[in-house]
């Protein structure tokens, strides 16, 4: 009897579960379901558009669908709300095991009055907008001249870098040329912790040196350098990034907690921070991007265990562990989940045959976007690349489905 497994969410964690399971049980029938017509989740919509090297991990996932017999079931929403195509219970009735790998997408809020005002944006929404995610195209953020980025992780640095870069700096990326931000002249990045406790990686700071016309400054001393790679990177970058002709000034501030927005006519005009010893700092600005992570308060996470919710139901990735950790960290975790599923599978009684993917195909037919359909979208996007870009992403589900329809009509 073939064991049938559905993974919900075609992002990196879901794909790594499929990869690992496929290695242990090559005969298992594995399908990855996604509500979007396109696979790869955060690799496509979260990894910055100018980090194509990081996105190259997609080659591993493509191989799942091309050579390892995993199927892609796109454009199908599983859930318990009204907009869903089918419920979790229905899906579980069709498969021996279901893995939830849907990630987390809500930005964590600062919780300050004025956060809803114009000009205040969450980094997740901004990043998805920049990455052409169909759900966030109405955002159209306006940054003005002066931007304050709140947060000290790698996402905050992604935001800073994309704000600071000019058109030529995006060569080889898939960043829409029409979206290059040219208005910004001053960027402040403000972290709550002292510099040595900031969460970003040294390489992310060093990368800023390459941006033409960017002057990097430090507001105040960094404290004891010792051999902290990040502090050294900050100091070296500030020294090296001092261009002859400055287009944008980036200033790092450490040890300042956000205290209050100043809102006039429903627009942000400054943000005030407080230091641990009670000093206050007000930065006038046209916009604020909060990059303090994703909302992890809505439910409890399973943590670093093997991801069992109950027999036959598992979870992986950020949905399981909370919104933390890089691609490789989640890969290791996904391997652990796959190992557990593989062990449990051995105990599934013979004769209890589930219909698997065939049931989804019977019920949803042409609505399902297959891997071959995705390849048509993929090649349409590559063909639509502007000069100096590797891809021009389709920004709406309608446009994606039109390409799918065109492919099917041609057959």
């Amino acid at each position: 009897m073939t064991i049938k497994i559905a993974i919900i969410g075609a992002g990196p964690s879901g794909c790594f579960v499929a990869q690992s399971l496929g290695k242990i049980h090559p005969e298992a029938e594995i399908t990855i379901v996604d509500r979007l017509p396109v696979p790869y989740g955060l690799v496509r919509y979260g990894v910055a558009p100018d980090h194509q090297g990081t996105k190259a991990v997609i080659r591993q996932f493509a191989r799942l669908f091309e050579k390892q017999g995993v199927t892609f079931t796109g454009n199908l929403c599983v859930g318990d709300d009204d907009s869903a195509d089918l419920s979790f219970a229905e899906l579980r009735g069709m498969f021996d095991a279901v893995v939830l790998a849907t990630g987390l997408s809500e930005d964590r809020r600062l919780g300050l009055v004025g956060e809803e005002a114009r000009g205040v944006y969450g980094s997740g929404a901004v990043t998805r907008f920049w990455n052409d995610h169909p759900s966030d195209q109405a955002l159209a953020p306006e940054f003005g001249n002066r931007v304050v980025v709140v947060g000290n992780g790698n996402v905050a640095l992604d935001v800073v870098r994309l704000l600071a870069k000019g058109t030529d700096d995006f060569n080889g990326s898939d960043f829409d040329p029409a979206r290059v931000i040219t208005s910004v002249t001053d960027i402040h990045i403000v972290g709550r912790s002292p510099a040595h406790m900031a969460k970003f990686d040294a390489v992310m700071v060093k990368e800023l040196v390459k941006i033409d016309g960017l002057d990097v400054r430090l507001d105040g001393p960094l404290g004891q350098l010792q051999d902290d790679k990040r502090l050294l990177a900050l100091q070296e970058t500030a020294a090296a990034a001092s261009p002859d002709i400055t287009q944008t000034v980036l200033t790092f501030h450490f040890g300042w907690a956000p205290e209050a927005f100043d809102i006039v006519d429903n627009c942000v005009c400054s943000i005030t921070f407080r230091s641990q010893d009670g000093a206050m700092k007000t930065l006038p600005c046209d916009s604020v991007v909060t990059a303090i992570g994703f909302d992890d308060t809505r439910r409890e996470f399973v943590g670093d265990g093997d991801g069992v919710i109950e027999t036959g139901l598992y979870c992986a990735g950020w949905f399981k562990r909370g919104p933390r950790g890089t691609i490789p960290e989640n890969r290791q975790d996904s391997q652990k989940v796959a190992q557990r599923i593989a062990t449990d599978i051995a105990g599934i009684a013979v004769g209890n045959a589930k219909p698997g993917i065939a049931a989804l195909q019977d019920r949803f037919g042409e609505q399902i976007v297959t891997y071959d359909d995705w390849l048509a979208i993929d090649s349409a996007e590559i063909n639509a690349a502007a000069q100096g870009r590797c891809r021009g992403k389709l920004k709406s589900i309608d446009d994606m489905l039109k390409v799918v329809q065109k492919r099917r009509n041609a057959e």
Partner: protein, 149 residues
């Protein structure tokens, strides 16, 4: 010929490349594939040619699956004077300053213990958008073709 193929990986890209290399050589050679995470010193004194594939992670560091191996080589300084090896690195020019430092570190460690490098270090840039196997497979063939008998 016996070929020992060893890889250090963080995201799985180097592992997949090695599976491709193994598949491309399997008809003509006897290839063993080992993750450096599982490699013991005994794996470095086997008969045959050695090919290492290694990525770079963090601030120009060895990838996760090669870190303990690197530490072991450094601590135990095994005599690798009988070993002839070739090495291929996976890197990302978006991080120019530390580009392919992981494979260079592994190369330095092996040479430091008396290993002899054969052929140039192969390099792949992930930000190029080109598949690593396109450059790695010809590189492997060229290395093997010029190996002294």
């Amino acid at each position: 010929m016996k070929i020992n193929l060893l890889y250090g990986t963080e995201t799985g890209n180097a592992e997949m490349l090695c599976e491709d290399i193994q598949a491309s050589l399997a008809d003509e050679h006897e290839v063993t594939l080992t993750n450096l995470e599982d490699a013991a010193l005994a794996n470095l004194t086997a008969e045959g040619a050695y090919i290492f594939v290694c990525s770079t992670y963090g601030d120009g560091d060895l990838p996760a699956s090669a870190i303990d191996f690197g530490a072991m080589i450094e601590a135990e300084k095994p005599d690798l004077s009988a070993m002839t090896f070739s090495i291929f690195g996976l890197g990302d020019m978006d991080y120019e300053e530390t580009y392919n430092n992981g494979s260079q570190r592994l190369l330095d460690l092996l040479i430091g213990c008396g290993g002899t490098q054969h052929g140039p270090r192969g390099l792949h840039d992930a930000s190029s958008g080109k598949p690593p196997e396109d450059s790695a497979l010809p590189w492997v063939k060229a290395c093997l073709a010029t190996l002294p008998a």
